[in-house]
C-alpha cells in the first residue's frame, strides 16, 4: 500500500475500469480485431496486479481470492476441452464446432468464443497466481 500518493491512487482508480473494459473488448472483439483470449487474459490479470501494487496485496486478495484464482487455472483448460466433446458425441471430429448451432457461421462463432473463454480463464488466473506466489514470498 502506497500511502499519501493521492495522484497514483486516484489515477489508478480512474484507469482500472477502462483497462478491464478493454480486456473484455479484446476478448469479445477478437473475431474482428486484433487480440483474443490470451491477450485479454493477460490484460485482465494486469488489472488485478495494478490494483495490488497501488492498494496493497490484501485488498487485491479480497477482489480475487487466491483459492478461487488457483481453481480457475484448470477450469479454463476444462472449458476448452469440453467444447470439443459435443462434436465427438454426435459423431464428428473432436473440436469440430459445426454441431454447436444450426448454421455454420453461428456455430463457429460460438465455438471460437467458448475456447477463447477457456484460454482467457487459464491465462489470466495463471498470471495472477504466479504474481501472488511471488508477492507472498516477499513478505516472509
Amino acid at each position: 500500500m502506497i500511502k499519501g500518493d493521492v495522484i497514483l491512487r486516484v489515477g489508478a482508480k480512474l484507469l482500472l475500469p477502462f483497462i478491464l473494459l478493454f480486456a473484455l473488448y479484446v476478448h469479445f472483439h477478437g473475431d474482428y480485431g486484433p487480440g483474443g483470449g490470451f491477450q485479454a487474459g493477460v490484460i485482465s490479470a494486469g488489472t488485478i496486479i495494478l490494483y495490488a501494487i497501488v492498494f496493497g496485496l490484501e485488498a487485491a486478495k479480497r477482489v480475487a481470492p487466491p483459492a478461487i484464482v488457483e481453481r480457475i487455472i484448470p477450469l479454463g483448460v476444462l472449458i476448452y476441452a469440453a467444447t470439443g466433446l459435443p462434436a465427438l458425441l454426435l459423431g464428428h471430429n473432436y473440436l469440430d464446432y459445426s454441431v454447436l448451432a444450426h448454421d455454420a457461421a453461428h456455430a463457429h462463432e460460438w465455438g471460437i468464443l467458448l475456447v477463447e473463454t477457456g484460454v482467457l480463464l487459464t491465462v489470466s488466473s495463471t498470471m495472477l497466481a504466479i504474481f501472488y506466489a511471488f508477492a507472498e514470498r516477499g513478505r516472509e
Binding site: Y32, G35, V42, A105, F131, R137
Partner: protein
C-alpha cells in the same frame, strides 16, 4: 517510410541492448528490458503483426516486468561482482551468437512470398476462412478453429507451466514451515 520507421525502432532496440550490457544495477536491467519489449511491440505493429504486438506489450512489457520486479524484491538489486575472468561465458556467448547468425542465412528472405510457409497451408486458410463462415480476423480463425488442437495444447502448456511455478514457489515454503514447527 515504413522501412525508415522499422530501421529507427531496430536501432533503438540495439541501443537498449548495448545499454543493458554494462548495467550492474538489476532494477535498471529490468526497466531496460521492459523498454525493449515495448519497442519490440512497436516493431511488430510496423510489421502488421498486431496480435503478436499486443501479446508482446502485455506479457513482455507488462506482466513479466512485474514478476521480475517481484523476484528482484526477493533477491536484492545488485549483481554480484564476477568471481573470475569471464572467458568461458564469453566463448559460449560468441559460439551461440555465431551459430544463430549462421542459421539466419538459411532462412527465407524477409517477406518473400514464394517460400513454403506462405505456400503450404496459408492459401487454404485464407480461401476457406472466407467460404466456411469463419471470423474476419484470420489469426483468430487459424488459432481457434483451423488449429484448435494446437491451441488446446498451448493452453495445457500454460496450465502446466503455471502449476509448475506455483509448486516451486509454494512447496518450498511449506517445507520451511514444517521444519520450524518440528524445531519447536
Amino acid at each position: 517510410m515504413e522501412a525508415t520507421i522499422a530501421m529507427t525502432l531496430l536501432t533503438i532496440l540495439a541501443v537498449i541492448t548495448l545499454a543493458i550490457i554494462p548495467q550492474r544495477n538489476l532494477f535498471g536491467v529490468i526497466m531496460l528490458s521492459s523498454a525493449y519489449s515495448f519497442v519490440m511491440a512497436s516493431v511488430l505493429i510496423v510489421l502488421d503483426a498486431v496480435d503478436v504486438a499486443m501479446t508482446e506489450a502485455s506479457v513482455g512489457a507488462g506482466v513479466s516486468t512485474v514478476v521480475l520486479l517481484a523476484a528482484l524484491h526477493l533477491t536484492g538489486g545488485q549483481e554480484y561482482p564476477r568471481p573470475r575472468t569471464a572467458l568461458l561465458p564469453m566463448f559460449v556467448a560468441t559460439v551461440t551468437g555465431a551459430a544463430l547468425i549462421w542459421g539466419t542465412y538459411s532462412l527465407p528472405g524477409f517477406g518473400s512470398p514464394d517460400k513454403v510457409i506462405h505456400t503450404h497451408t496459408v492459401p487454404r486458410y485464407i480461401a476457406e476462412s472466407a467460404s466456411h463462415a469463419m471470423p474476419p480476423n484470420i489469426v483468430t480463425a487459424v488459432l481457434a478453429d483451423f488449429r484448435g488442437y494446437d491451441t488446446l495444447g498451448e493452453t495445457t502448456v500454460i496450465f502446466t507451466a503455471g502449476i509448475g511455478v506455483l509448486l516451486l514457489l509454494k512447496g518450498r515454503r511449506r517445507k520451511a514451515n514444517d521444519a520450524s514447527g518440528d524445531g519447536r
